[in-house]
């Protein structure tokens, strides 16, 4: 994204009133916004111009937000996706993240919150792009003991096994692995990885630490890689060289 050009956002929402309000406020915030009313149109719009960020309603006629999400990820599009949902069941939330959405908001949400999330997602995407650009210069993998991370390919190998992570999990792991032995407080992790401080009922740091442990550790209750430093935060064990 060249500097000076406003980030482009696609809003896919079947409720006209909400769609118009989103467009109005996102434009007021300085983004270039396109809006569609259903999932099929959302997917089609990405054929012409890829947006920098997508805001998808989960429940849309024809093709719902999850399917759009899946289809886009299948095409290798990595633009951040913010999912809007009227359901507050956990299943929906987890699915949204597992299937490639980067964040979600439950209706009714506040516009301020939405704008904060959009900003954070775009910033994170920017950082990622910068990291990738840098990685072309130094395609060096990050190694810590048995852990090997290839930032450019967003691949992780641990004890010679390739392990899949969601975008946030990967970013969290990368953050730890980039500073092995360093203790991060939860607030620091939220700022560094999520890019903003969550407010609401989302379970974030602990959940993601737990997921990382579940995927990496033999016994998640006796972690060996990502350690808890009581009263301070978490750190990744520094492998002896």
């Amino acid at each position: 994204m060249p500097p000076g050009v406003p980030p482009s956002i696609l809003v896919a929402e079947d409720q006209t009133d909400i769609r118009d309000l989103l467009v109005m406020n996102l434009q007021a915030a300085g983004y270039s916004v396109r809006a569609v009313g259903d999932g099929v149109a959302a997917l089609a719009s990405q054929n012409e111009i890829a947006s920098d960020l997508l805001i998808l309603d989960l429940m849309m006629p024809g093709m719902d937000g999850l399917e759009v999400c899946k289809a886009l990820r299948a095409r290798g599009r990595s633009a951040p996706i913010l999912m809007l949902t009227a359901k507050s069941t956990e299943l929906d939330r987890v699915l949204g993240l597992e299937l490639g959405a980067d964040d979600y908001l439950t209706k009714p949400f506040s516009l301020a919150e939405l704008l904060a999330r959009v900003k954070a997602l775009l910033r994170r995407a920017d950082l990622l792009r910068a990291a990738n650009a840098g990685a072309q210069v130094q395609t060096q993998a990050i190694r810590n003991g048995d852990l090997e991370i290839l930032p450019a390919k967003r691949q992780v190998r641990y004890r010679a096994h390739a392990i899949d992570f969601t975008a946030l999990e990967f970013d969290l792991l990368l953050h730890f692995a980039s500073h092995p032995g360093h203790v991060f407080s939860r607030a620091q992790l939220l700022n560094a990885v999520w890019g903003y401080t969550h407010d609401g009922y989302e379970h974030t740091v602990t959940t993601h630490i737990n997921r990382l442990r579940a995927k990496l550790e033999g016994d998640p209750m006796r972690p060996e890689l990502i350690l808890t430093v009581r009263g301070a935060g978490y750190k990744m064990r520094e492998a002896p060289r």
């Binding site: 507050s88 956990e90 987890v94 209750m221």
Partner: protein
């Protein structure tokens, strides 16, 4: 005492009583038989005398000195028999007894004469008579009498009176009876009673077996509840209805079960509709509320810093606050309906509850700080085992957040809220304690009821909404985790809410 034992005891008692009655009856019959035999023997003996000797009175008259000896010789071979010669009025003229009777002693002849009369009319009847024994002065001997006619025949001139008394007294008779009767017969009777009782017990057991099976079936059904037991499993559980009272009971129970099941499913259907209705309503209200809130937020942002719209902004703020309250309430209702669904499943993860509390503490530090309330997470107590529990992290955080929200609502600036997690054998105690105004004791039992709001906690209508459901959601979440919620607190002493959760198995 079980019905079986009661029945067996009843039958045993009945057997014993019956045996005793039979013995008594037999004894009575034996006695009567014995007396009748004595009487008949006596009567025939007397008749033999009267037919042999034409005129006994004449004999006495002729040889009064030898008469007594003659009389005695008559009864020489009739043991226990005393003969008396009476005149027409019953006056004793002579006797075989050794006892000297008072002169002029009279025997009451009435009963014996009446018996003789009735015996003549109806020969088949027993006719023995208990009459006067002049020697013993009681009416407890078998007596017989035979009228004596004078030489010229005609009227009764006197009577030969026979007393067959038993010298062996009641005691010795009882002894004799016991010796003959006791051992073999009593053993036999006891044996019969025992066998009868045993048989009865077997009959009772077989008869009450359906009852027992029914009881077992009912117990199983009670344990399982109506939901699990479908109609088919009930049929296999219940004994096959027989044609007796137990069969009727089984059928009646089946009918009751069917009715209950019908009503239960009707209730469940209704409850399902209610939940679905609330859920749908909550879902359908979200979009309009989102749009309304977004409109108001847009307006608010547009008029920010514009002095000419200061009044409008104030109105928009009120509208926005109320919309958000409505939104929260709608969300809570929908969530509660969701959590109430029988199909709802937790996504459990084994997690260090202390770490989670740290997380939540960080989240609330900032908003609480704005109200000058300190949120503190107590460090672990150094127990050997960190407080691990298998939790649905989102729901657990939701519960703790609701509790902190609640505490923050009622705590004055300068208050403290403390979070702690302690591992206790097979459970983890999670506490949210504050030093706020506390809760009236009368309110404690209802604190976690839906839409209950403590009187002193009633906020103005424009206050934050949905809080009538916050604690109900906490309770439901803890219930789903198989734990329980307890509240300690008194006015002026703050509130301590403890969630007791099962610890994660290790």
């Amino acid at each position: 005492m079980s019905v079986r034992v009661k029945l067996a005891l009843t039958i045993f008692a009945t057997g014993v009583v019956t045996a005793l009655l039979v013995i008594a009856t037999v004894l009575y019959a034996f006695q009567r038989f014995e007396r009748e035999m004595t009487f008949q023997r006596a009567t025939s003996f007397l008749m033999r005398i009267t037919s042999t000797y034409d005129d006994v009175l004449e004999l006495r008259r002729r040889r009064p000195d030898e008469f007594q000896a003659w009389l005695r010789s008559l009864v020489l071979y009739e043991p226990d028999t005393q003969l008396y010669l009476l005149d027409r009025e019953g006056l004793v003229l002579a006797s075989t007894g050794k006892v000297r009777l008072a002169p002029g002693f009279k025997v009451a002849l009435g009963p014996v004469l009446a018996a003789m009369q009735s015996a003549k009319q109806d020969p088949g009847r027993t006719s023995f008579v208990m009459g006067d024994d002049p020697e013993r002065m009681d009416a407890d001997a078998v007596v017989a009498a035979e009228p004596l006619r004078g030489a010229a025949g005609g009227d009764t001139a006197g009577y030969l009176y026979l007393v067959a008394h038993r010298d062996s007294g009641a005691g010795s008779r009882w002894e004799a009876l016991r010796s003959t009767f006791a051992l073999p017969s009593l053993a036999l009777i006891a044996g019969i009673v025992a066998v009868t009782t045993l048989l009865a017990a077997m009959v009772i057991a077989s008869v009450t077996r359906p009852l027992q099976r029914l009881t077992e079936a009912v117990a199983t059904l009670s344990k399982r509840g109506l939901e699990e037991g479908s109609a088919s499993t009930t049929q296999t559980l219940l004994p096959q209805p027989t044609r007796d009272e137990f069969g009727q009971l089984t059928s009646a129970f089946e009918m009751m079960l069917a009715t209950l099941r019908r009503q239960w499913s009707a209730l469940r259907r209704l409850d399902h509709f209610r939940r679905e209705g609330v859920s749908n309503l909550s879902h359908d209200l979200r979009s309009p509320l989102t749009a309304t809130a977004a409109c108001l937020e847009t307006l608010d942002a547009r008029w920010a810093g514009d002095a000419s719209h200061a009044e409008d902004r104030r109105l928009v703020e009120v509208a926005l606050r109320n919309t958000r309250n409505a939104a929260r309430l709608v969300q809570s209702l929908g969530d509660l309906a969701k959590l109430d669904e029988p199909e709802f499943r937790l996504h459990r993860v084994d997690v260090d509850v202390g770490e989670l509390l740290d997380d939540i503490g960080i989240r609330f530090a900032e908003p609480a700080g704005r109200k000058q309330i300190a949120v503190r997470v107590l460090p672990p107590d150094g127990a050997a085992r960190p407080p691990y529990a298998s939790l649905d992290i989102e729901l657990f955080e939701r519960a703790i957040a609701n509790l902190i929200d609640n505490a923050m609502k009622f705590c004055a600036p300068g208050s403290h809220i403390e979070l702690s997690a302690r591992s206790k054998s097979a459970q983890v105690d999670v506490c949210v304690a504050d030093d706020g105004p506390g809760i009236a004791e009368a309110d404690l039992p209802f604190l976690f009821d839906r839409f209950f709001q403590s009187r002193q906690n009633v906020a103005p209508a424009t206050g934050e909404g949905g809080k009538g459901l916050g604690l109900a959601i906490v309770k439901r979440i803890v219930e789903l985790h198989g734990g329980e919620v307890t509240v300690d607190g008194a006015p002026e002493h703050g509130t301590r809410i403890t969630l007791t959760l099962p610890a994660a198995p290790r």
